[in-house]
């Protein structure tokens, strides 16, 4: 199994951290992982994206020419990266911010109103967590328990009190994966 995920959005939406959580969770399951951020000119324009590969075998190139999953946290990211999704792949979008629908019939598209849900929960950084809940439920990329453990591993202790709330919102995200 080799699984590639492209996460993209604005700087500050937690795109790079979300990618790190995926990689950490998969690593805890004994999988091979790579995480590659965009740090080039697009970063200077306020957008952020990262590529994550999760695999049962050693990973060759960390650079994605095509992805199994695109997680788009804003409209420009959906426009730019839809073409990179493999046929049969999956696109998750924060539908509170992304109003377009990808013009492809050969992929699965799941819109999740992540920002609105995060706003209601009182913490905007939860938006990415909601989408990761949906990702975990829709794919075999990583399990819920590993994700919870990854949060404890990756977040500084002063944020640990937020983790039960994050897991609750993660579970809400998972409900959107139902066909």
């Amino acid at each position: 199994m080799e699984f590639s995920i492209l996460l993209a959005g604005f700087g500050g939406q937690g795109v790079l951290s979300a990618g790190k959580f995926i990689a950490t969770a998969a690593l805890l399951e004994g999988k091979e992982v790579s995480w590659l951020p965009s740090y080039g000119p697009e970063m200077r324009g306020g957008t952020a994206n990262c590529s994550v590969i999760v695999s049962d075998n050693p990973i060759g190139s960390p650079i994605l020419n095509a992805a199994d999953v695109l997680i788009a946290l804003n409209g420009p990211s959906l426009d730019k990266f839809t073409r990179l999704v493999k046929p049969g792949g999956l696109i998750l979008a924060d539908s509170s911010l992304v109003h377009a629908v990808p013009a492809r019939q050969d992929i699965r598209f799941i819109p999740v109103p992540a920002s609105s849900m995060a706003s209601e929960a009182g913490n905007m950084t939860f938006a990415a967590v909601i989408l990761l809940g949906c990702l975990a439920a829709a794919t075999e990329c990583f399990g819920r328990d590993s994700f919870e453990k990854a949060l404890y591993d990756a977040l500084p202790a002063r944020h640990h009190h937020l983790i039960p709330k994050e897991m609750a919102i993660f579970d809400q995200g998972a409900t959107f994966a139902a066909p």
Binding site: K20, A23, T24, L27, G30, E32, V33, S34, W35, L36, P37, Y39, G40, P41, I59, G60, S61, P62, I63, N65
Partner: protein, 354 residues
């Protein structure tokens, strides 16, 4: 796998240096390697080490010269334009026979260029860069695990031969995160530095560290010493990885990030019935001539294809190693672009058909 830690390449370099006993770091920030400095700022005080953000790259390399002369394990890191500024210092360090470790997380050039990954500094790293007849040992890691292991080894090589040892990475390797498995104990070699300027305390003659020799014969003696040392390094320190080379039709040569793309291409090519091998130099200097020549000499080989993030630099060393027995082709991208697997596969298909 149990204790693997997810880390950025740049952080792995910094942690490796500390584990190798480096307690003196001098640098000046530049993308895409500034995380090394961040990490050093955090960690050096914990191990009673020194991290100085110098006023410039030139100052940083001269601080390295001073610390190395005093016998310290010392490192500086930068990216391409900053490494250009340090070249005078490299030459002086070679002339004074000092051990030091330098990391170049290469970005696209020439000039101020861009901040994206490239391998355009191969010539500069392996052929000198500064003035005079000297060599730096150049190591080319291809994963975060290898950035860690080769950084530790770079300190050992530097001390063993009293040479500057360079880690030549690129923006992708510096910025990416991968799991790293740290060893419980590092293979740190300690050596007597009786030549170091540590203060005589009245017990011995003064040691002198210098690179100036006005008399021709004295300077020629230094040059002969250096060349003898470089010959020894070329005998003992050559490293390369070969993948799938036995009976291959096409042999790829690539280092660092490019070699990883090539490993994917090998699998893709096998699916369409073309057997492709890879020789990945781990030491760029000394260059693994024999590994390249041995792979090329097989009767099955039609051609070699060198892949780099530049306009064709290592390919010259590949051609010298192959010495005309097989055609050597080149494909590269510049400006911070990376070749896709498909681009490389297209080149392979043309060569395999001819």
């Amino acid at each position: 796998m149990s204790n693997r830690v997810l880390m950025k390449g740049n952080e792995a370099i910094a942690e490796a240096a500390i584990r190798a006993g480096c307690r003196h770091y001098f640098g000046y920030p530049i993308t895409p390697q500034t995380e090394i400095m961040h990490y050093m700022a955090l960690r050096m005080p914990e191990v009673d080490g020194v991290m100085v953000q110098a006023e410039s790259e030139v100052a940083a390399i001269n601080m390295v010269y001073g610390a190395a002369a005093a016998g310290a394990r010392v490192m500086t890191t930068s990216s391409s334009p900053g490494i250009s500024l340090k070249q005078e210092g490299f030459s002086y360090i070679a002339g004074a026979e000092l051990p030091a470790v330098v990391v170049n997380i290469v970005r696209a050039g020439p000039g101020l260029g861009g901040i994206l990954p490239a391998q355009g500094d191969y010539f500069q790293a392996t052929k000198g860069g500064g003035h005079g007849d000297y060599r730096n040992v150049v190591l080319a890691p291809a994963s975060v695990q290898e950035l860690y292991e080769l950084t530790v080894e770079a300190f050992n090589i530097a001390d063993r031969y009293r040479v500057l040892t360079m880690i030549l990475g690129d923006g992708t390797l510096g910025q990416m995160m991968e799991p790293v498995l740290f060893r419980d104990e590092e293979p740190v070699e300690t050596c007597e530095k009786s030549w170091a300027t540590t203060g005589t305390r009245g017990r011995r003659e003064h040691n002198t560290i210098q690179s100036i020799y006005i008399e021709a014969d004295a300077l020629e003696r230094l040059n002969n010493t250096l060349q003898a040392k470089y010959r020894l390094i070329a005998q003992r320190e050559v490293r390369a990885e070969t993948v799938n080379c036995e009976g291959a039709e096409i042999i790829l040569t690539a280092f660092g990030t490019c070699s990883r793309i090539c490993k994917n291409v090998i699998r893709q090519a096998a699916q369409i019935g073309i057997k492709v091998g890879l020789v990945r130099p781990i030491t760029l200097w000394p260059f693994p001539d024999r590994a390249v020549a041995a792979a090329a000499a097989q009767p099955s080989v039609k051609a070699l294809l060198d892949i780099e993030l530049n306009a064709g630099q290592m390919v010259e060393d590949v051609r010298l190693a192959v010495n005309g027995i097989r055609p050597v082709h080149f494909y590269g991208r510049t400006g911070g672009n990376l070749p896709t697997q498909q681009e490389i596969l297209d080149q392979i298909q043309v060569l395999a058909r001819s």
